[in-house]
Structure formats: C-alpha cells, structure tokens
C-alpha cells in the first residue's frame, strides 16, 4: 500500500459548509486505516468539519447479502440510531451507501418505527466521490501523483448508485495522473462478499480476468471506491507477482507529488 504524503497538502478550497458525519465502513475502519485518514484529510482540506461517531460499527450489509435479514435488521436499526440525526453522512464505500439507500427501506418495509427513518436516511447518505462532485461540486482537490492510473467500477456504486463519471473526473484532475481505461472496467472483480469465501475458485477465476485487464491497461495503479473489490484485486495481483498497486480513491486524492 502506498503511503500518502499528506503533510505537503495545502487546503485548496474552503467551504463554509456545515459538518459532515463520517461512516467509515468496516473494512476501512479495520484493515485499511489509511483510507479513513485520507477521507478525513480531504474534508480537512476543504475546511469542512468531520464528525465521526465513536459507536459506529457496520451497516449490516454482510448479513443482508447472505440472507440473514433479522441479524442485518438489528445492525441496521443500530446504524439508524447512531446516524439518524446526522445532517449529511459520507462513506468511502459505494456498496454500503447502496445498502442504506436501497436496501434499508426494503429491510424495514414492515417496521413502522424505522421505515420512514430508513427512507429519510437514504437521502442524506452519500458515497465520497458522489458527495464531492455532485453535492460540493469539487472536482479538483489539488492532489498530485505521477503515473498511469486505471479505474475499477465497483458494481454497487455503478449499477446501484449510477456513479460512473464522478470518480473519473476526480482522478483526471490529479496533477500528473494519466487515466488509462482498462477493458471491461465495469465487470465484477469476483469479490461479492460471502461469495468470495463460499466459492473461492470461481471468485479467483473472475479476479484473474479482472487483473488481466488491469495489467493489459498498462497502469501503475488501480484505483477504486470500494475496499472489498480492492482487497480482492490486490490479492490476485500479489498472486501473479504484479507490482501494480491498489489505492482507494481517497488515498489518491490526498497525495502530493
């Protein structure tokens, strides 16, 4: 994992916005703390205060996708309790935002206590690049990185939240970056949450296709907006002995030359 050289970053834009509340997402919270730091740095540079509720855990997506709706519902209810009063929630993961925005209303469809709250919450939670580009209309964070970057469209971000151009615009505006498109950037990497654990061979075969396209693109770095996908891709890159690095977009956007 490349380190961010954030000490050289200067605030590029200052917004008199109200604070945002950060939902870190469990993979970034646990395995990839650099991603959390990078997100905080982005808001710091924009002059926006970040509130990070200390009690937060998970949105419930793993259990929901595995079919365990009671367990997912309990976790989701807790999420609503913690984030329900936040004005704006930002999360560096497309699939978690997709979970809250599109699956919470379904999960609580027979629960009068939480249903309205769930629908309401879905309107106030944003994936990071979606928030930066669509809400704040920021497309240049003043970052710099010299190299060829390819972008992986994660499934839920692209097909669930229709976010395709926002990350690309942010990447293209990083000084020194050449964005090279890989073939089939919108094809699943083979992660699929529990799929990756239950069907490791199929997952690996899918990841092998994805990584072949990444290698063929000639990129030095593959950037994505979901740590699940990047974890799967990274595992396969290591497996084939490639020196292509994986980076969460927040990490790229906080790099300075």
């Amino acid at each position: 994992m490349q380190q961010t050289a954030a000490t050289h970053c200067r605030p590029v834009l200052v917004f008199p916005e109200r604070p945002v509340t950060l939902f870190v997402q469990c993979l970034a919270d646990s395995l990839y703390p650099d991603v959390k730091k990078a997100v905080e740095k982005i808001f710091d540079r924009l002059g926006i205060d970040v509130i990070c509720p200390k009690d937060q855990t998970c949105c419930g997506q793993p259990a929901f996708n595995a079919g365990y709706r009671k367990e997912a519902g309990k976790t989701a209810a807790r999420f609503i309790e913690i984030f329900g009063n936040a004005e704006t929630i930002v999360c560096p993961s497309g699939s978690c935002v997709n979970m809250v925005r599109h699956h919470y209303p379904l999960l609580f469809k027979n629960d009068p206590k939480y249903h309205a709250k769930a629908v309401d919450l879905g309107r106030r939670i944003f994936e990071l690049t979606e928030f930066l580009v669509d809400v704040l209309t920021v497309t240049d964070l003043g970052a710099a990185f010299s190299g060829r970057v390819t972008y992986h469209d994660s499934c839920h971000l692209l097909r669930g939240l229709s976010v395709r151009t926002q990350p690309r615009r942010l990447i293209q505006n990083v000084k020194g970056v050449v964005l090279v498109e890989m073939k089939d950037s919108d094809r699943c990497c083979g992660f699929g949450g529990s799929f990756f654990l239950k069907y490791p061979d199929i997952s690996r075969a899918m990841a092998a296709d994805k990584v072949r396209n990444i290698v063929d693109s000639g990129a030095d770095v593959v950037v994505g907006c979901d740590m699940g996908c990047l974890m799967r891709i990274q595992k396969q890159l290591i497996r084939i002995g490639s020196d292509i690095k994986t980076l969460h977009i927040a990490q790229l956007l906080t790099m300075a030359g």
Binding site: K74, C155, C188, K198
Partner: protein, 429 residues
C-alpha cells in the same frame, strides 16, 4: 452444493470453454448493449417493456382465456397442462392419435424442462432436434449449456468427431462443411416427419397467435412441413396486445443476439385454412404451468415471470462466463436460472445457485425487460437463511445461522466490534 463447485471447477480449468464463453459474451453481451442504445425509442423502452410484462403477468388468467378462445376459433386445440407429466402425456396422446412415428423439433427450452424427448423416444417415436446447436447436443446425448447457444461448450473438433461417428461422414472440423452435412441430414428428417414440436417465444392474447423466432429457418420448417404441429408455451409467455407483442419481440431479438429482428419470424395462429398452400392439418397449443402459478402467487418472485428467455443475462454474467451452463445442473442456467430453477425445482435442492452469484447487477442491465434478478437472489438467500414454510424450505444451516447471530451481537457494541476486527485481521493478514 458440491456438484456446482465441481462442475464450476471443471469449466474453469477448460481453456477452450473459457475462450468460447469469453467470445460469446464479447459478441452477444456487448451486441445487446449496443442494440439497446440504438433503439429508436431509446434504451428506456426496456422500462416500458417491464411494465408491459408486469401488467400481463398480473392479468394472466384473462389473457390466457382469451388466447385459448382465439386459437380454438382458428381451428386449433388448446391444452392447459398443470405439470410436466400432464404436458408430456398430452404430447404422447396427440402423437398416438395421429399415428406419429417421426417428430422434428424446433428449439424449445420448455420441452427440455418437461423431459419430452425421452418420453417420446420411449414410445418408439424418432425425435430429431433441428436447431443446429440442439442437434449437436442431441447427437452427443448432452444437455444445452446456454438458452440460445446450447452447444457453446462444444469445440468444432469435437463436433467433427461427433458427426463422423453419428452421421458417417469423413472427418472435418470446418464449420461450413459441418453445417452443410447437418442440413443435408436434417432435410430428410423434415420431409419424413409427421409432427413438429416447437416452443413459443411469445403469444399474443389479442390476436390469438404465437410468434417463433429463429436464425436458421428450422422452426418454420418444423411448423409447416409435418401434418401436426404442437407448440408448448410456459403460461407466462403471453402479451396482451399486438403492439405490446411487437415491442417485446424487438427487445427479445436485441437481448438475445443484438439483432434488430431474428432472421425468421413465424406468426402462427392455427392449422392450415382452406386455400392455404401449406401448414399443418392439426395445431395444438399446450400451455404449461409446472410451478409457475406458485411463483405467480408470491409477490416476491412474480417478477421473474416477466422473463422472455432471451438468454441475454447469460451473455453478461461474470459467473456464467467462468462456470458455463452445465454447473447449474438444470434446464435454465445463468442469472435467470439461478432464480427460476430453485423456484421450479426446489429452493433447497438448488440452494447453491442463488448463493453462487456476486449480486453485481449486470444481468439487470442486460435484461430486455429490466428484471431485477439480484433482488430475487437476495429473497431466495433470505428463504434459505431462516426457512420458508410457504415454499417448504428448511433452514440451510443452523451453524451458519448461529454464526450470523454472533456476528450481529458483536455489531451491537463498539468494543465487541473491535474484537471482531482483530479476528478479521487474523483471517486477512
């Protein structure tokens, strides 16, 4: 579960199959996407088609009744079959009544669903598949591995050897030569057949006709040359009006093969009428339920009945691209098979199908009628997680349930969550 994994592994380690599947997706999957973009009404027509299909599904009883009336008025006979056994026995009875000794078949997935070929063969009737892919599969005594490209798993070398063995021709792996040989052999079968059996791409309630699409012309020959024509349709394959029917056929051809329209389109409304030059003397339409009413009755899954079996979802699914059709172990494979096979043949028995998908959503975007397949995969997973009395589904695994209960308990508290995180770091160092 194990057979899914074993068959998947076999497919993954077969480089020829992997190339064939990749080429199929490159050509048909991307072709369909381009064809939707080039629709005169714009790609939004898929959403309209979804509404058209849902409305038809919601008034299926009325539409089918009208369809049956119109077919009968045109001199055809309609048979409602509750299950596979009833449909098969209706076909056997028709064959017996008309003294049928030889049958030619147009490509029909529903006939594979009910196991028709074996039953007719057991009665001493010669059954010949006339779609080139299906013919190859029949000669090899295999099952289709794709809804519209049934022999995608066969190499041309394998087909050359098969034709040498079964048709007695000298070995060649040249596709045009092999096609010519199949055509020669099939032409004789067409001329000798007493009965043609086809599926039905889409019926139209307003007019009482059925439409059949093909690119080889074999279906037209199966429906016009023999003196008896039997068409079998799943009960959901009906459009209310001719204008709905038109929209759906155009989307079907696009979804299936990126075509504006298939090479041959047959509209069949009954047997030969006085003054007609050709056509069968007798026409039967079998409308098959075989578990579809049960799907219709469940709001969660009703949407899957919108499917018009174009196979478009197979052409974009990243899982299908790796494991091929046979791993699904059933007539209907790919994303649509992952939903419809468990519902028709047992959710518990086919539990691996809904779990062995990544929920990437490519199938929904490729669907000509915009069916939300991932939503239904999630519903099936939920049935397996906690059991479902209405479908006689038992909980898949008590151990797994216990695991998720512990997971949920850990997620209710930040300190417990942090312990979980530490455990995760051990699993994924």
């Amino acid at each position: 579960m194990q057979s899914y994994i074993d068959e998947a592994e076999k497919a993954i380690s077969n480089p020829v199959l992997q190339t064939a599947l990749a080429n199929l997706q490159e050509r048909l999957g991307k072709g369909a996407a381009a064809a939707y973009r080039n629709l005169p009404e714009g790609p939004g027509l898929r959403l309209k088609a979804h509404d058209i299909r849902m409305q038809a599904i919601n008034s299926l009883d009325v539409l089918l009744e009208t369809l049956a009336e119109r077919v009968e008025k045109n001199g055809g006979e309609v048979i409602f079959a509750d299950d596979a056994a009833a449909a098969v026995s209706a076909c056997r009875e028709i064959a017996r009544k008309h003294g049928v000794r030889a049958v030619v078949k147009g490509k029909s997935m529903v006939s594979d669903e009910i196991g028709l070929n074996d039953a007719l063969s057991a009665d001493g009737i010669e059954v010949t598949e006339t779609d080139l892919g299906e013919y190859i599969i029949q000669l090899a005594a295999e099952h289709p591995s794709h809804i519209i490209a049934p022999a995608i798993h066969k190499t041309r070398d394998e087909i050359g050897t098969l034709f040498t063995e079964k048709l007695g021709i000298s070995y060649t792996n040249d596709p045009p030569t092999l096609t010519r040989e199949a055509r020669k052999s099939l032409r004789e079968k067409f001329l000798a057949a007493d009965m043609g059996i086809t599926g039905c791409n889409l019926a139209c309630s307003e007019t009482g006709h059925i439409a059949l699409l093909s690119n080889e012309g074999n279906i037209r020959m199966s429906t016009t040359l023999p003196r008896v024509h039997v068409a079998i349709m799943g009960m959901e394959r009906v459009a209310a009006t001719l204008s709905d029917h038109d929209i759906l056929l155009r989307l079907l051809a696009r979804g299936a093969a990126g075509q504006k329209m298939a090479g041959y389109v047959s509209h069949i409304s009954g047997p030969r009428q006085p003054g007609h030059a050709d056509g069968p003397d007798h026409y039967y339409l079998i409308i098959l339920d075989n578990g579809r009413s049960r799907i219709l009755a469940d709001e969660r899954f009703r949407e899957i009945l919108c499917c018009i079996r174009c196979g478009g979802c197979l052409n974009v699914c990243p899982v299908y691209a790796k494991i091929g059709g046979h791993a699904y172990g059933a007539t209907y494979c790919g994303p649509v098979g992952a939903v419809v096979t468990p519902l028709l043949s047992g959710v518990g028995r086919f539990s691996h199908l809904c779990q062995g998908e990544t929920l990437c959503g490519a199938c929904k975007d490729a669907c000509p009628v915009n069916i939300d397949i991932p939503r239904m995969l999630l519903e099936l997973r939920s049935m397996l997680a906690d059991g479902d009395a209405s479908w006689q589904v038992r909980r898949n695994s008590l151990l797994e349930k216990a695991g998720w209960m512990i997971w949920s308990w850990m997620m209710q508290d930040r300190r417990r969550y942090e312990i979980g995180v530490k455990l995760m770091k051990r699993i994924f160092p």
